[in-house]
Amino acid sequence: MYIKTVRIFFSKSGRAIYISHLDLMRAMTRAFSRSGLPVWYTQGFHPHLYITFALPLSLGTTGLCESMDVRLLEEVSDEEIISRLNAALPEGVQAVSAGEPVMAPKEIMWADYHVHLRCVVSEGRQALERFVALEEIPTQKRSKKGMKTVDIKPMLKILSVEEQSDGLMLKLRCRAGVEINLNPTLALDALTEITGFKSDWTTIERFAILNEALENFK
């Protein structure tokens, strides 16, 4: 029997950033059903679409390089997968490319984010300078065993800080993956906790997912 795993990259933006991960899985299942693509269902008592997401995206965050794997039962060209899926996807979710998976999701090590802080530029700069100079950034992180304190310093790199008319644009690199994962919101909460600085309004966009060698996840 023909079964082939295909990895589909998609973006999630606009109103769609408010679709939670759980809701997105359901929405994708329905989109595949509407698309009529020959996807593989699990064979148990309650068959469901086999679908896995490489790295869940937080609610409220834009994602430009999200990916999911499904299994196809017939040969379908990558272009056709994209066009049929896009016809069935809700506003704000768009399939970008499809192809054979190259890396395993467990190879994911880093994710890069654009963080737009709307604030008074000088206040933001000052706070960030203090933040960067810290040796340790102890932060309350929720784990399966309740809240615990972790040092997020090694999980976080500020790649660049750019001034804009209404605030600052940061490029953040956060540890990502199954084992250790840093949500940029948590880093921003720590920034507020330590320096007292809080932006008026923050938008976050994930624009790259990387392996240890800083190659794009493929």
């Binding site: 606009g14 109103r15 059903s33 469901h48 809700p90 938008t203």
Partner: protein, 613 residues
């Protein structure tokens, strides 16, 4: 509102997807001059409103017109309402994010009485005056529909129009009237006067109500050419009426998250407590081909993995088994489940069970409603203890080990013997299980009794009956628990604190407007939710208005009393309800419509006999 503003709001609330729209199937139009903007409001949370079939039908029905854009509005949850109030954002419609106050028509569907304060809350959040007379511009025009529109009097002061009966039948006429009114610049009195001439549209402000000294209604008099009696609108042919080929598919996990097809409207049974069973008469079926086609369309367009069959009594649908066969042919292959709610005890056959089992093996739920044969005869449930045990035997033979039984408490003529009968019936089901050598091996049985409080409703034979007191109901609950001896039986009941307010509103007159407003001003909203309901607010509102809830809820009404809804005609006649009430008091039953016409009067509205196969 801009998307930026929405972002700011949404960053402060739980479940933002309630407020973002953008779902598959949501209708977004480009505004054109003269386009009628219609805000369809469901006065409850997104998850509840989005589960409602009527809204899906009417949304699609309105949007099939190029000159109408119908959008959805749901209640914001407490956190969102606070955020909106703090930011000064008025109530907005989901698709366009435009303020509701800028719309031409605002429609509320009234599915239950406890949504009334929420209607006021939404009007207020929209930035509109809650009293109709204070909204002097003709638009937005506020119209209500749905089952509670059958007695809209407790909302009479707040709303402009009431649509009686089935919306698909009347909507177009109302849209046309609004479009013409806008074009020709009518003032509000003229809009109301003309609207009252549309059959099925009731304009409360065109009726004067006078009262007797004892507080009952003396007269209801129309003014300005409004009809003395307004009759509900009825679709004659369900096979040709509009049905959506597409549903909005929500992202959130809503209450009923599936494609739904309608089997029939109305009910042949005539259970005397059931308002829906009378309101939606006469019974009209969809043909088996139409239902099968609707189901296929919806699954293809939505991608849902479940179809629900909707009606008041699924197993009474004439072509149920062939329909199931034809659906099961393709649903299994497509990984689509079927859900069959509202199965009756007296016609649950072995072959039907096999089909249900092929669909999904969870628990089975049946509704004997009362514990003794005498009381089941009073309420005209028309099932016997034999029916219950036969059905449970069938279910147990089919491998089921869990049965849920629904009952009501506080029914007319009820005694403690009837309460004990509930426990006895459940015990008989348990005993039956253990008496069966063929029962599923090594498994224990579980019988779950669920008990609700009976609330007398208008347009039923029990509209004359007083509601049981809260104290009596609590006593009966305690007594029921003391009667249950087996650990295989579990009892759950809704200690319905809302049921007194619900009973008062259900049969209330327009003096209750002051109470609804008083409760709203004391912070009442979303009263149907236990964590929102404020009993004290209602109590104070009644006191302030100088009205006694017991006058509405707990008074026996005479047959010749003028009821607040007597000028609204839903087909079934008061004479029939009186006849049925008299029979109920003698514990005499009335057979199903399928056994012969009982002369309820509903057929008048379709100009002929009930269309049942």
């Amino acid at each position: 509102m801009t998307l930026d503003q929405l972002d700011l709001l949404l960053s402060q609330v739980q479940k933002p997807a309630r407020y973002t729209a953008g779902e598959m199937g949501a209708v977004v139009k480009t505004l054109t001059p003269g386009m009628l903007r219609y805000a369809f409001c469901f006065p409850d949370l997104y998850e509840v409103g989005m589960s409602h079939l009527g809204m899906k039908i009417l949304y699609g029905h309105a949007n099939r017109r190029d000159d109408v854009w119908c959008e959805r509005v749901f209640s914001p949850d407490a956190d969102m309402q606070t955020a909106m109030e703090e930011m000064g954002v008025p109530l907005f419609a989901l698709e366009s994010l435009d303020p509701v106050k800028d719309f031409d028509l605002i429609g509320f569907t009234l599915q239950y009485e406890m949504c009334y304060t929420e209607v006021l809350n939404l009007l207020n959040l929209a930035g509109l005056a809650i009293r109709a007379k204070d909204r002097t511009d003709p638009f937005p025009l506020v119209v209500v529909g749905g089952p509670c529109a059958s007695n809209p009097e407790p909302l009479a002061d707040f709303i402009d129009l009431v649509s009686l009966g089935e919306g698909e039948e009347v909507s177009d006429e109302l849209f046309d009237l609004c479009i013409q009114a806008k074009k020709e610049g009518w003032d509000k009195p003229e809009v109301l006067r003309r609207a009252a001439q549309i059959p099925g549209i009731y304009v409360p402000s065109l009726y004067d109500v006078t009262y007797n000294e004892d507080g009952t209604i003396c007269t209801i008099t129309p003014r300005e050419g409004a009809p003395a009696v307004v009759s509900k609108r009825v679709i004659t042919d369900l096979d040709s009426v509009y049905y959506p080929e597409n549903f909005i598919v929500p992202f959130l996990d809503i209450v009923h998250d599936r494609a739904v097809v309608e089997l029939f409207r109305g009910c042949n049974r005539g259970c005397r407590f059931c308002q829906a069973g009378f309101l939606y008469r006469p019974i009209r079926e969809k043909s088996f081909e139409t239902v099968a086609k609707d189901a296929k369309n919806l699954i293809e367009s939505t991608g849902y993995d479940e179809i629900g069959l909707s009606s008041l009594s699924t197993s009474d649908y004439c072509g149920l088994e062939p329909l199931l066969d034809s659906l099961l042919d393709w649903t299994e292959e497509k990984h689509v489940n079927l859900s069959l709610p509202s199965l009756r005890i007296d016609n649950f056959s072995e072959s039907l069970m096999e089909k249900v089992t092929r669909v999904r093996k969870s628990g089975l739920t049946f509704a004997p409603e009362a514990g003794t044969q005498r009381l089941r005869d009073v309420i005209n449930k028309n099932i016997t203890e034999q029916n219950v045990t036969d059905t449970c035997r069938t279910a147990f033979l089919g491998g089921y080990t869990a049965v849920k039984l629904y009952f009501m408490m506080g029914l007319p003529t009820e005694t403690l013997d009837d309460i004990k009968g509930i426990a006895d019936l459940a015990q008989k089901v348990v005993d039956l299980y253990y008496s069966m050598p063929e029962r599923p091996k090594g498994k224990s049985v579980s019988v779950n009794i669920s008990v609700a409080c009976f609330v007398p409703k208008p347009y039923t034979p029990f509209e004359f009956e007083p509601q049981d007191s809260m104290e009596a109901l609590r006593e009966k609950q305690k007594y029921l628990l003391s009667c249950v001896r087996s650990r295989k039986i579990s009892v759950s009941y809704h200690d319905s604190a809302t049921s007194v307010a619900e009973a008062a509103l259900a049969r209330g007159d327009r003096r209750l407007c002051q109470v609804v407003e008083g409760a709203f001003l004391r912070g009442s909203r979303l009263d149907g939710w236990d964590d929102h309901f404020k009993p004290l607010a209602w109590q104070e509102a009644f006191e302030e208005a100088g009205l006694d809830p017991d006058f509405y809820a707990r008074r026996r009404r005479s047959y010749d009393e003028v009821f607040p809804w007597d000028h609204l005609d839903y087909g079934v006649t008061k004479a029939f309800f009186i006849r049925e009430h008299q029979k109920a008091m003698q514990a005499a039953t009335t057979p199903s419509c399928f056994a012969g016409c009982n002369g309820c009067g509903a057929q008048r509205l379709t100009g002929g006999v009930c269309k049942c196969i």
